[in-house]
């Protein structure tokens, strides 16, 4: 069993920074788990604590069924891949890959053979005699991976391993990693600041901020039902529109307009509640005629995205964005009305920033309006 359990983990640095504040986390055996967040959120500190490179001020780490909190890194049977790969320049590729086996006192001939096999499995055959400096960035990354794989760990720990690659290579490496994980099925913890990467690779992920976990869930959960305003604004290629609103009897008032109440919040709010309405630009529509339940706005800027347009709008309620398909090119300066797909809209409490409801429509009372269909069945 190589699940990971973290309980009440706290880490304070000598300069007073509280890098981790009472963190609890469960990672399942064989899972690809991403730690996502902006710089300084504590994700790397958490990873290093799992590795044993940082000692927590309080809390416990369990790997499998062993309490490893006080164990040194070498005793935990994990492997870590750093952002700069840490390939030893004075060793050739096969010795680099074989290094963990050398630590484990495997005989020279055997460990070089196993290293060569692992390397070949990752597409490195023919490069075994080279020095790391003679390899391309992508090849170096695979050597680092091979070294981690060769040590037969219970857990892989990755610290932003793709950040040093250029954009095209990064996509290839990402697919490579996903395939590797599908084959090997070793529990993997993966730190990144790139939310697209996390969404693409992870089985489940944790979004962190300021030393705390703000949400844990599958990529789908996190994307479609961000649990609070921070996650809502952090996740998504284009940021979610977040507009202040007030609940009224038959909807939410945004600026001067009345928009429909998202079904997920039905029954959970009272008239007069101050809320924030969240709607992704991709789930909004532009109308050139006034529309009931629409927000009036004026087109300010149009950005061409290739197969769509990203339209920046000014409205009395604030700026917002809408993604418009390419067959309806918009014109700047025009007045429009914006509707958001109600079933995919979310409501947040303005004071706490927490999501109202589960993001799915509440357990249906007998006579409820049928759900718009999309929620809960992604």
């Amino acid at each position: 069993m190589a699940s990971i359990t973290v309980s009440h983990l706290t880490k304070v640095f000598p300069n007073g920074v509280r890098a981790l504040q009472d963190v609890d986390l469960e990672i399942r055996d064989g899972e690809f788990f991403a730690l996502l967040g902006p710089s300084g959120c504590g994700k790397t500190t958490l990873l290093r604590t799992l590795a044993g490179l940082e000692v927590p001020a309080a809390g416990q780490v369990r790997i499998g069924d062993r309490d490893v909190t006080r164990l040194p890194p070498g005793a935990r049977r994990v492997a870590m891949v750093f952002q700069d790969y840490a390939l030893y320049p004075h060793m050739d590729v096969v010795d680099n890959i074989a290094y963990p086996l050398k630590i484990q006192r495997v005989a020279r001939v055997e460990r070089r053979q196993r290293a060569a096999e692992t390397g070949a499995n990752l597409g490195l055959q023919g490069m075994m005699d080279r020095r790391p400096a003679q390899l391309s960035g992508g090849q170096q990354q695979r050597v680092a991976l091979a070294r981690a794989v060769a040590s037969h760990p219970q857990v892989f720990l990755f610290d932003e391993p793709l950040s040093n690659l250029d954009a095209r290579l990064r996509m290839e490496a990402r697919t490579f990693l996903k395939r590797l994980h599908a084959e090997v099925r070793t529990t993997t913890v993966y730190v990144t600041h790139d939310q697209a990467e996390a969404l693409a690779l992870a089985d489940r992920m944790a979004v962190m901020e300021g030393g705390r976990i703000r949400q844990v869930g599958s990529p789908v959960d996190v994307f479609h039902r961000p649990a609070n305003l921070f996650v809502a604004s952090f996740i998504g290629g284009t940021p979610m529109n977040l507009l202040d609103a007030v609940v009224e009897a038959d909807g939410v008032r945004v600026g001067a307009d009345l928009l429909p109440l998202p079904p997920s919040a039905r029954g959970l709010v009272a008239v007069g509640d101050r809320v924030v309405l969240g709607a992704r630009p991709e789930y909004a529509e532009l109308h050139h005629q006034p529309v009931a339940g629409g927000l009036s706005a004026r087109i300010a800027i149009i950005e061409h995205l290739g197969t769509a347009y990203l339209v920046d709008l000014e409205s009395p309620a604030g700026p917002l964005q809408v993604v418009v398909p390419e067959d309806e090119p918009p014109t700047a300066g025009v007045a429009v009305w914006v509707t958001a797909h109600a079933a995919r809209s979310l409501l947040y409490r303005r004071d706490t920033g927490e999501l109202i409801g589960t993001g799915a429509p509440a357990a249906r009372p007998a006579a409820a309006v049928p759900a718009a269909g999309a929620d809960g069945s992604e």
Binding site: P14, A51, G52, L53, P72, P73, G74, A75, R76, V78, A79, M80, F82, Q83, D84, Y85, A86, Y88, H90, Y99, P100, K102, I103, Q104, R147, S151, L157
Partner: protein
Amino acid sequence: MPPGTPGGTVSAAGLSRRWALGFLTPAMLLIGVFLAFPAVWTLYLGLTNFRLLGPQALHTKFIGAGNYQQALTGGDFLHSLYITVIYVLLSAVIGQCVLGFALAWVFRSWRGPLRRVLESLIIVAWIVPGSVVAFLWLAYLQGNIGPLTETGTLNTILGGIGVNWWLQWPMLSIVVFNIWRGTAFSMLLFGAAIQAIPPSYIETARVAGASSWQLLRDIVIPRSRGHILTNLLLISLWTFNDFTPYLLTGGGPGNQTQFLPVYIYQQAFDQGALGYGAAISTLVLLINLVIALAYMQILKERR
């Protein structure tokens, strides 16, 4: 190029060659007269039987290789050379280097006040002036053979052992002294070298389970080879040419600690044989040069 600049080529900052040479003159003059010239003059002097006083002062004879012959066949010089090499090997190459590296390694990730205090202790041992340090060690290792000699601190701590370290174990005493004196430099140099290794290199190995010995053997030392060699070169030359032993033992007892600097001084100034002293000096210069070139060669190969 600004018009009207005499003196030929002007560099970016406007320093013409004439000005540059002018700026160089004071330093080159000092170095030339007080560093380069004496070195060359030694070569010439070594071929004479010059003395400061007496008949040879007035009628200095060119005796060619006479001094060198005397040095290389006489036995004194060779003995001095031999013990100097042993001194350098034991106290610098092994002692200071190993202890300095060990301390740099232990201190590498330590920040606290304890580390600063210890480090300062070690460095202060290095910067206290030589003549003071010499007396401190004379007092420290003093034994009480016979009724009149006093006992030093070490013997008192060791519970009244009556060993007169300087008399009975002069070589050991002076080797230990030199290790104490010079370790700070190695510690600082290796500290910088270890800091220069990317932390991820070491952490990768630690996570793979490497013990400290394996870390040192596989990663730290291979990456620090250049620094190790540079350090060895510098401390070897310094120890080789160090005059402090004169203050400690004066070469004695007998000639047990008569290292080359002491030997040269005694021959040239106590005995007055400046020509012979110059010849030995030339030999020492040559040996220094050989050591330096040898190290550089090894450095080049290892790259």
